[in-house]
Symmetry: C3
Subunit: 469 residues, 3 copies
């Protein structure tokens, strides 16, 4: 019961933190007109109150997606790792939000340096203690945490906690914000000289493909779970332990996604939000339907987890184009996404990459599809993240190849950056301390060894998996 020691350590840490923060608090000050109270901001534009309400509520909805991801991942993985997954989903938000507060936000949205990264706003201190900055921060913080949490599905059931804590930190502090700056922070991709530059309304690329391809790198470095492939090399199904939780999680994600997409206007005075919301719903509906049908045509079974992933795939795919398309296009985009997620799952199995919850197919592959869809379906009614100015027009609406090229370039950069940085990150950790748990721990489950607890103590849950091959 060494509590006094604990408290001494903690006291030192707090004092150090205070000192550091003090530095930031002291710099800046009255140089710019920061408004921590909001009175001046409101007086300057009374309409902002509504925008604050809209963006905040959207941010709250996106936050709830953390709970949705937790339920989906728990449901699609085995009971013996459920405690571990709960910790991951709790910690990626906790660590991610603090990292984004300290560093990530400044890199993503700070004063631009050469189109490459931002450089101001560390700890939201000094002049960044401002109601508008805090508003932007909370919306972006929940997005950053979403990117981090996507990864946890792909590396589930076999990664060490230490590796997890580190990658959540690095993603939210560095990998995500840098690419995010290029697209949303006024960086070079936003200013590409094709079409309106690379467009990604709510983050099919910035958030989803980013998370999906970092996850792919992690899954490759880790290798497949024991028992996933037989001696003959054939993949085996490792069913999750709770389809009901997975469905609940999907409904929570879908719910949160309305905030994710429609909130990305960052303004309630863009009435286009209604079109965005409709597109979001229709794409998800179409995705779940075609994913279910695709599997049914192949196996004659109605595969519910795939239907859930189909809905998520539709949501991911419509995330980039949601503001630039009309309803029927959302249906088409979602329908294709539903088929692609099924194909992606089979493809990864063939490639011997083990992605327990299908995160790479859902977020990675369909994130790319969403980016390209902008270049195809943008219908020339909406502009550069606003209803004014030059309008985004895709190939099918007479816009030629311009926008599609901008989308393709962004997609390639996104996948490359995510996979490369992800690979370096996981590989270096693996070299230094080994990121995979021992085979014994993996077979017994991570919950007992790492957490000293079972998710469902007293319940006997058997596993129908052969580990001997």
């Amino acid at each position: 019961m060494n509590f006094s020691k604990l408290f001494r350590c903690f006291k030192k840490a707090v004092l150090a933190c205070l000192a550091v923060c003090g530095l930031f608090v002291s710099d800046g000050g009255a140089v710019f007109a920061a408004d921590p109270t909001g009175a001046e901001t409101l007086a300057a534009d009374p309409g902002l109150a509504l925008d604050f309400v809209w963006v905040l509520i959207a941010a709250f909805l996106v936050f709830l997606m953390q709970g949705g991801f937790a339920m989906v991942e728990a449901g699609l993985c085995r009971a013996k790792n459920a405690v571990n997954l709960m910790m991951k989903n709790l910690m990626d938000f906790s660590i991610g939000s603090l990292a984004f507060f300290a560093v990530g936000f400044a890199i993503m949205f700070g004063a631009d340096i050469g189109g490459l990264f931002g450089s101001t706003g560390w700890f939201l201190s000094g002049d960044h203690y401002d109601v508008s900055t805090y508003l932007l921060f909370i919306f972006q913080m929940v997005f950053a945490a979403t990117a981090a949490t996507i990864v946890s599905g792909a590396v589930a059931e076999r990664i060490k906690i230490r590796a997890y804590l580190i990658y959540a930190l690095v993603i939210c502090a560095l990998i995500y914000p840098v690419y995010g700056h290029w697209v949303w922070g006024g960086g070079w991709l936003a200013n590409l000289d094709f079409g309106l530059g690379h467009l990604d309304f709510a983050g099919s690329g910035v958030v989803h493909a980013m998370g999906g391809f970092i996850g792919l790198a992690g899954a490759i470095v880790l290798g497949p779970r024991i028992g996933k492939y037989g001696k003959d090399g054939k993949p085996r199904a490792i069913p999750g332990h709770n389809v009901v939780l997975a469905a609940l999680g999907t409904f929570l994600l879908w719910f949160g996604w309305f905030g994710f997409n429609a909130g990305s206007t960052l303004s309630a005075h863009e009435l286009r939000i209604s079109v965005i919301a409709v597109n979001t719903a229709l794409s998800a509906s179409a995705g779940s339907l075609t994913a279910m049908l695709a599997v049914y045509l192949k196996t004659r079974k109605w595969d519910v987890p795939m239907g859930l992933n189909g809905a998520l795939a539709g949501l991911v795919a419509v995330t980039a184009p949601c503001a630039w398309i009309e309803g029927w296009a959302a249906v088409v985009i979602g329908a294709i996404a539903g088929v692609m997620v099924v194909g992606g799952v089979y493809l990864l199995e063939k490639l011997k990459v083990d992605d327990p919850v299908g995160a790479v197919s859902v977020h990675g592959i369909n994130g790319v599809w969403g980016l390209l869809a902008v270049g195809l379906f943008a219908d020339g009614t909406y502009g550069n993240y606003t209803s004014e100015g030059p309008l985004a027009t895709g190939l099918f609406y007479g816009g030629g190849w311009e926008q599609l090229i901008a989308q393709g370039i962004g997609a390639v950069i996104c996948v490359g950056w995510a996979f490369m940085l992800g690979f370096i990150l996981f590989k270096s950790m693996d070299k230094i301390f080994g990121i995979r748990v021992s085979p014994q721990e993996e077979i017994e489950g991570l919950d007992i060894m790492e957490h000293g607890a079972k998710a469902y103590p007293g319940v006997s849950i058997s596993e129908d998996i052969r580990y001997d091959l």
Copy 2:
């Protein structure tokens, strides 16, 4: 792995879909002033931005009710059918929303033909590509899907998937929108020559009685589950498998119901929304309390599932009158609803109708009660879906029998239409392909046969039911 074939099929389907959509896109065009961007709409009335925010968020909340229904139904049914129920709840939204997009919305809210049905707005195309139309659409779409999902509880644990997919389609494309047009689309019931015409603020009739009595028809055509009635004809309890999920689902539904009722102003400039929200909460509270007490007085046990259904009954009953009554009336309406849901469950058991989750009592019977309550408790402070114009006044507030008659007529039509169309639908499907699964499948559970998966693989769950009688 016949994927190329799959993709060829899909390509054809997409091309056909594009062609069809193209037809609709080409019609209309510049006849009316559609505003897909929202800039003109906002310029014409800046106050609309707040209404957009209000209606969208309300729609998101109503969407989450899908997750709530999924949890309630899963919790109150047996584990062996949980995967099936998840699919139903996913698919009724997916199919329902697409059907409502393609057809239902046009029938319900399109240009009126003879007070009977609407006729414009198919696929939201042409002039319907407009921010205001899309706004109305998303709010109404989540309502349509709610009506469909109510049915799934009543027909649970024994219906074939094919029948399910078809009825979700028909309800959202046809049965629901036609009646909906009569009440909310300017149809004949809205213009009844009694009181202010038939009034149903947020859909006790349009959504809940509709879903409940279609469900009753389905439950009758299907017949009771094996084991529900003994040789002696006495009903037996078939307990659900997870009371905690049922409770979670009820809280999610209650949460979503705030959007359902208060959002039905379709405007945030009706400050009556605060009264609506209070009434919604108080009625649910009273309903759960009286349902619990009613069972306790009879059995000396505190029956939690009945308490949950009591809360839902209170919510259903207050849905029609929520805008026209004050707080104490909401308490009375909810208290009566809580007793009626208990009585309804016993009554249906006596009539040998097997409704696994009590959907008919909750939504059907209390939907009717809600419609009548308007004619009793409307207190003359609020008008015809607006704070202006002639005020709705019920029997208890000196309004005489006028409004009650209008409510009674609407209720009879609602029940008749729902039950009749539902019966025809289920009966014809039953004649054509048989809508009930085989006894063997029913006993083993639908999950393994239809979905090739268990909701909780590896967990041994025994059943305390005698199937031999």
Copy 3:
């Protein structure tokens, strides 16, 4: 099947209720200018429509916290009491909201009498049938129910239902509203002659410490659960039955807390809401991180339930100061809260107080910490629940000891009032009818005896607890 008797009883009750309500309806009337429709209120200040939307949505989010508490408590307790806990969480809202409607709201916010309690607004009748009053009511009602539901965690797994129903009533009708009046209803604590008077922005004291210390009283009167302490007096872990549910509940609570804190401006025209939301998230993140680390340093296990409680502790602690501090201070406050919740759990175990879910540590101890934190970290940028007027300034920002003294006085009064009234309440009930279930019932679980049902029928769940000592 004595239904006719049941209905006769009920009819009498309803008639009596109508009579009573009629009394209230008749009094008042046109004396003040009540506006049940909202048209006049809106005409007088069109900006209010946005405030209505903001406060209502925040209230809905806070309502959902009931579902969150239900999941956390179910998850952290044993399966054999899960039905009972669902009933508690349903009933405390049902009874609590009706009690607050009838009595509590009038005591808390009615016309002040001597700084001690309010005296008008019973049943929201007469002039209180007004859109603005109803708006305030629903926001405050969900707060009152939160205070009641906090208690249920501390007394879980051994209290009789009757005791539960009574205390939910007394807390929401009396104990909570009286103290609430002192702080938020213009009572004596709000007008203390130190600093700006006692400040508690969203209720670290009013709601959380209140609930936590009533819970402490209940836990003391009840005594520890059988098996919690061995013959040697050493505490033993009694693990909850479902960590996934506990995590889900935490995410739901966190989500709802955004409404709890940011909605407490009661106005969307305080743009400070963005700062409040950010502080809320950061404090929770820091709390979960330090709680997890504190246990890890002690046990080398990553304790997920403690991480969840750490997040909640951070949320509780930031609830009072959230409007008066900047981001880094929220991190510090949350980080300390995370450590304090761990310390509190160990301390209570040493004191032989059995608090199954850690409610006293989370809500009680950290509620007090939150009150004090205002006096330390308030940074002089925000005033007395508004952006205008004199600014709250704490010790660390040169405000001297004034505000800290006001906070200390309020904290002492809060703890004293909660514990004293709670103790009297539980002790008198215990004297009169005995509030603890029989040892046999406790060992078998409350679900079968009191509810005649199991949460998970058919699932075998073993317990690893020795009851023989």
